[in-house]
Structures are given as structure tokens and as C-alpha cells.
Point group: D2
Amino acid sequence: MRDIPVLDKGFVRLIESMGGDAGVLQAARVSFAGSSKGEVADRRLIEYLLKHQHLTPFEHAVLKFHVKAPIFVARQWFRHRFGAYNEISFRYTTPSEDFYTPESFRAQDQKNKQGSVAAPSLDQEGLRRSFAASVDLAFKTYHGMVEAGVAREMARMVLPVTVYTEFFWTVNARSLMNFLWLRADAHAQPEIQRYAEALSEGFAQTCPWTYAAFLSHLWTGKNAKLDAEKDRLCSASS
Amino acid sequence: MRDIPVLDKGFVRLIESMGGDAGVLQAARVSFAGSSKGEVADRRLIEYLLKHQHLTPFEHAVLKFHVKAPIFVARQWFRHRFGAYNEISFRYTTPSEDFYTPESFRAQDQKNKQGSVAAPSLDQEGLRRSFAASVDLAFKTYHGMVEAGVAREMARMVLPVTVYTEFFWTVNARSLMNFLWLRADAHAQPEIQRYAEALSEGFAQTCPWTYAAFLSHLWTGKNAKLDAEKDRLCSASS
Amino acid sequence: MRDIPVLDKGFVRLIESMGGDAGVLQAARVSFAGSSKGEVADRRLIEYLLKHQHLTPFEHAVLKFHVKAPIFVARQWFRHRFGAYNEISFRYTTPSEDFYTPESFRAQDQKNKQGSVAAPSLDQEGLRRSFAASVDLAFKTYHGMVEAGVAREMARMVLPVTVYTEFFWTVNARSLMNFLWLRADAHAQPEIQRYAEALSEGFAQTCPWTYAAFLSHLWTGKNAKLDAEKDRLCSASS
Amino acid sequence: MRDIPVLDKGFVRLIESMGGDAGVLQAARVSFAGSSKGEVADRRLIEYLLKHQHLTPFEHAVLKFHVKAPIFVARQWFRHRFGAYNEISFRYTTPSEDFYTPESFRAQDQKNKQGSVAAPSLDQEGLRRSFAASVDLAFKTYHGMVEAGVAREMARMVLPVTVYTEFFWTVNARSLMNFLWLRADAHAQPEIQRYAEALSEGFAQTCPWTYAAFLSHLWTGKNAKLDAEKDRLCSASS
């Protein structure tokens, strides 16, 4: 898969996958010793499994992603425990200067304590300036400490959570659907929603029938991209 | 992979795999942003990871097996929780007549309460006869109940744990090594040891460097097949 | 907790628990640094968490059960991987003569391939007789082999899956709710439904608010006992 | 348990626990239907389980901790997936001004790329000054943005990973031993070593026999505190 750019300097890249829809179907069918009777029956079985929460067959489809994301996004990501993670270590390596700067700062949502809303009235120019000044000083301090001989594992303590990190993530389709359900939704922070959308492309590519069934039968959230795909699928099938 | 026959009617079949040694190395190297410097360095890195219990990179190599094994073996197998399982259901389907009959019955080990030892003095012929008679009656009773209209989920209650079942198992290399460590060892029941040996072939085929490093640096058990491979590897490398 | 008898010779016993509703609330509140404002607010928070799938706080309430159940029930149980299991080993110990005999045999459901239905027309007396004869021969064969010196781990191979086993199960409230959702429901085999009902008593006792919220907001299955409790709760709160 | 202070402003607090050594023993003994024969036999059983990697019984002892630690320590901590976490959210709440300032900065280890060593020659005074200046600007920028109306979830992006966070962690004794094995060891960053030492006190208090057996039979790392306890235990038992 080509890199899917996310935010200003991040990306999601599908490295490899195993199983796909066929792997899900094979695992599901061992339960009742059946075999495929064509696409219509296969897609109906996938829908049946999802609707009735028979989710173990979806663990046999596995995807591996390479991700570059700000630390505060990675922090939310790593709360999902059912997957394999390997992350770049700032004990070993010096981070690049990459950090995330939002295109525009959102205002605190007054109704939803954890949310944010578009804020045309904010002084975006000024905010960006003070944001950049703070991050710049952090990097300058970091490099100054490293040059003075301070261990990288200590110098990195000044770096802000908007700095980009990289990791590999191997995850099965069941856990990936759970991730999308929670992180593509409007309740999630917009930055991680963008990553969920990028992941959904890798998912659609490797497990197209499962992804379609996920949208039609599990997805209950709000997300412009996923909602549009759901609408397209529904009108195509009717 | 061809089927590997196990016991009298069982098998282990490697269906597919993802990642392999290269996937392990790629995941490991993100931590310190390095890249391959050839086979010697790659194998040394795998050995380093295993020796220092940096085991997460091995979660990026994933294998899917199709297994046919007696229920009592499957029961020990399913205690390993880090993997995906889908098993044939005797609520849906009628089991074939396949059941496991040991080539020879082993005697109770007098030193090790849970173990068994070869027993030339046992009346193998007579044991096999009474074993078969008991299993035959179970199957006859099963079929009689099903013909009388009893639900399969109830009729199967008379079936013994020596009856064969089938399942798919998707597992990563880290969990597979843990399985081999525990189940290929002489302390495990000999029947599941045979399955562990068959799995080791699929492992050797998909992750040859990891398997070699596992034998050299983690494996501390006793198993004729694995010990011989370890000896062969050690003499080859010296 | 007193033993709750299940089936003809099984039981569920709550051994100990940790956290309870208070533990759930404490963990949830760290997220927004709040503290309790009384029962109404506490119960509302629990309902909010369940409805929005914020399920991690429920992992801080932990229950430990001692269970005696037929092997075929234990086999379904152990498919739930998020919990700690320790089971009696028939490699070490000789099973008691306990096996499960159904009060009445159910017929195969013609609509639902995996289900069963009440069957007044079946020859219950005759079925019970042939069932008992088959299990009796299995036990006789087992004991004969053990007396002849055969290792317990081999002799047990003739024992049917209706034989009782015992295990300890430590599980958190999140996984327990998932278990109840799947196994108390009418789609599950009636025998494991009885165990799910017994577990629900231990759950109700240790986490009464969470259990009530589970019934009101998550439970969508069919089960006479749980449905009655749900009705009682709804009429009480209205 | 009283708070155990860690670093300059952090702590570890044992909130509650379940099972303890007795819970481990009870779970282990179901396997062979035995019962306690006094302390000597009980401790020997725990040692046997650990030495032979029979680790499931240790999952029945569960501990819940409240932790306050810098974000970079929490990031290493949350890589341990087998436990329940709930963390304060900086999307909802405004962080206090608490951040970690090292007593003294360590130099980069020239032999071990990820390590650090004591560095008397570093200009500690100057380093602390530039460190504080960078963190101060980050907090000032943060507060400036919040006052301007920027959503907390965005303003927090400038905050450095040395800022303190808080979380609840429920973990079983098996996973806790794995954590200590990896994080109390000299290869781990010294800051998380201090947390591992604090956790070991809660462990020793709730599972004294298991902790002693862990030190004697599993622990192979280097840590002044744990090594001293191991020495004390060994000389006491000889």
C-alpha cells in the first residue's frame, strides 16, 4: 500500500496482511464444516457473524501497519492492548525535528467537557506563533543537553507530546474494528480520527467484505468519511 | 505446507503465515532506527532479542495452522490464551467416527504423579480391546440418540475425550515459542508433545533464524526431535 | 457466598472479590479527577460508561469463582480467554464418579441447526438407560485400566465429556458481562445458561449497580431469570 | 498501604488486593486436589510453580495501585498489556504544574547506546536551569492557550513528557513479576526502576512468600534494593 499521509507530517502504511475475508470465512466454517457457496453466501455469513457477535473468526485476518503519529496520539493508540507494538525508542535514537502543528486551533467545547469545536474567532496566527516558540525552545534545550553529554533518555524529558514518533502495529481485524468503532467516532480527538480513517483504507483493501459489513452492521458513530462510505454501500446494495 | 500426520489420525497443517524472520527484524529495528547489515548481523539481533527477553518483535510474525487432535489434547492446547481459535462444533455437526487409539498404553510413573512410562509388561492387546469396546459403545449410544431425535448438543455428552476434533489456530511466534517450551518438553503428555513437534516444523519453515535461536538460547527442555536439531545447529555453527 | 447448585451435581461458588462498584467508580473518576456526589450520580456514571462502551473501569472489579461443571460446559467456558483458570488435572488425580445426567433429553431444533427444543415425545426413560450404560462402561474401563497400571493421563481418554471437572476462575466485571451476554442467552446451550445464571448472582452481590446497569443497558438476550430481574429493576425505577 | 514517594513528586499507593499467597495456593491445588500441609509445604509449592513456569496460579492474586508518574515513565509502563489501566485525561482536566526534575542529570553511556551513567562533570546547575526554562515556557504557553479559549486536548500538545500523570493499575501477580523482572533491572531507565522498587513493596506486603520465591528463583537482574532483599532472604533461610 502507498503511504497514506495523516496530519502535517504523519502517515499510515500497510506493510503486509494475512488471511483477509477468505481467512475469516475459513475459520468460521470449521465450526460447522461447511464450504463456500459463492460471494452472496460468503458475504451473508460475514454479516451474520458480525450481527451476532461471533467475533473470533475475525481474529484470523491480520494486518501490519507502519505508523508515524504525534506522541499524544500514540498514547491513545497504545491503550488498545490487543495488538503487537514496536516503537522507536528515544533512549537509543535522537528524534527528528518533526512535530505536529495543527492547521487551526479548535476551541474548548462548552457542552462537552472533553471535546473541541471549530473556532474562527481565535487568533490562529498568534497561537501558532506561541506554540512554535514553545516547541522550538524544547528542541533547542534537548539538543543543548545532548551536546553537553546528557543521556538521550533524560534529554528527551523536555520534548512535548506533539513530537512525532513511529511504530509498527500488528493487529487482527476484530481488534481493528474495535479501534475504528472507538477512534473514528466524533467523540474521539480529531487527530486520532484522521488516523482511524487512514487505517480504514488498509482495512477496506485487505478485507473488503468485512469492512462493508462492519459499516453496515456495527458502525454507529459519526465520521464524515465512514458515513459516506456506508451510504454508498447501502445505496449500491439496494 | 503439506499435512504433517500426528498420532494415528491427526494432523497439523500450516495454512499461511505473515512476517517471518524479516517481520521480526523490521519491528525490532524501528526501536533504534537501524536497517539490516546482512545475515550475520540479522541473526545476531534475533539472538540478542531472545536472550534479553525483548519478545515483542516476535509478535509480528504470525502463523495459521489447521489442526486435528483428540479432545483431551485440544483441552490442553486451548489453555494457551494468546491466539485465535475456531473449532468445529458438535452442536452443529455430527463427529466422524475418528478417535485416537494409542499404539501402546504407558504405565503410571511412580516417581512423577502426572507422568507415564513405557510399560512392556502391560497386556496391550487386552487394554486395546476394552478401550475400543468402551469407545464403540459411546459412538453407538451417540448415534442411537441422534436417530431417536435427541439434539446433537446433548447426544455428544457421551463421547469420550479421545474423539478427534478440528480447529484453526492463528498464533504469533512469541506465543508459539511459549507453547513449544511448555508442550514439547518431556513433562508434557506425550500426545501433545507430538503436536508440538509438528508445529516446530511449520515454525522452522517460516522463521528459520528465529527457530534456530529459540533452540540455542531459550529451549531448556527434553525432546528427542528438538534436541537433535539443537545439536545439529550447534555443530554447524562451531 | 453459599454454593449455588447448578445442574444435577455442579455448583458455582463465589470465593472472593475486589473492587466492586466502588472500584469501578474510583477508576473511572481518575479520568476527570472527580469524586462521588452520592448514589444517584454514581449509578448514572456507571450507566454512562456502559452505554458509551467506556469499559476499562469495569476491569478493576475482580471476582474469583470455584466452579464444578461437565467437561463439555468447561470447554465452552475456556474459550473466554480474558480470565485466569486453574483446573483439576486428570493426569494427577482420579476423577470422582460424578457425571451429568440431564433431567430430560431435548430434541434437535429443526429450524436452528445448533439448538434444541423440549421433546415430550422422546423415550426419556430409554434414553437415560442407554446414556447411563455408556457412561458406566467408560468408568468401568477407566478403573480397569488404572488398576492394570495404565497411566491416569491415558486411562482418562475413555471418559466422556459429561464427566464433571472443577476449576477456579478469576475474572473482571468487564469480561464477566461479556460472558453473561453470550452464555446466558437463549442461543447458548441450556446447560451453560444455568451456569451463567448462577454467576449472575455472584455478580449482583458484588457489583449491584453495575449488574443493574448491565441488565438495563447492555443485555439484549433472552433468559427467563435475567429478563425477570430486568423487568423488576425497570418497574422499581419508574 | 501508605503512599510510597517516588522521584520528586510521584508516588505508588497500594489501594487493595485479592487472593495473596493463599489465593495462589488454592488455585494451584485444584490441579491435584490437595490441601495445605503447613507453611513449609506451601512455600515449597510456590517455589516449585515458579521454577517450572507453572505461572497461571499467580494470576489469582490481584493488586490495584494508584500511581503518579511522569508521562515518559507511564509510556514505558503502558507497554505492559496485561493489566487494567485508567488514566487521568488531559482532554477533560487541566494538569497541575507538577513536572519531574531529576536530582542530577546522567551522561550518555558510551558502551550501552540506551543507557546512562553518573556524570559528576556535567554542569548540573546550568542543565537544571535550561530544563526548567523550557518546561516553564511550555506551561506558560499551555495556560495562555487555554485562557484564549483553545480546547484542552489541543493546548496540552506543548506539554513535555516530564509532566506528571496519574493512573490506576490493576494487575495480577504473574504480570507484576514480569514487570519487575524487566523494569527493576539495571537495563531499564533509572526513573522506572524507582517505580518498580515501590511496587515491590506492595507485592512483598500482599504476597510475601511469592515475592521471596520470585527473588530467589526468577530474579536475575541487577537492582540494589532487590538484590539486598534477596541476600537477606538467602542468609535467613540458610
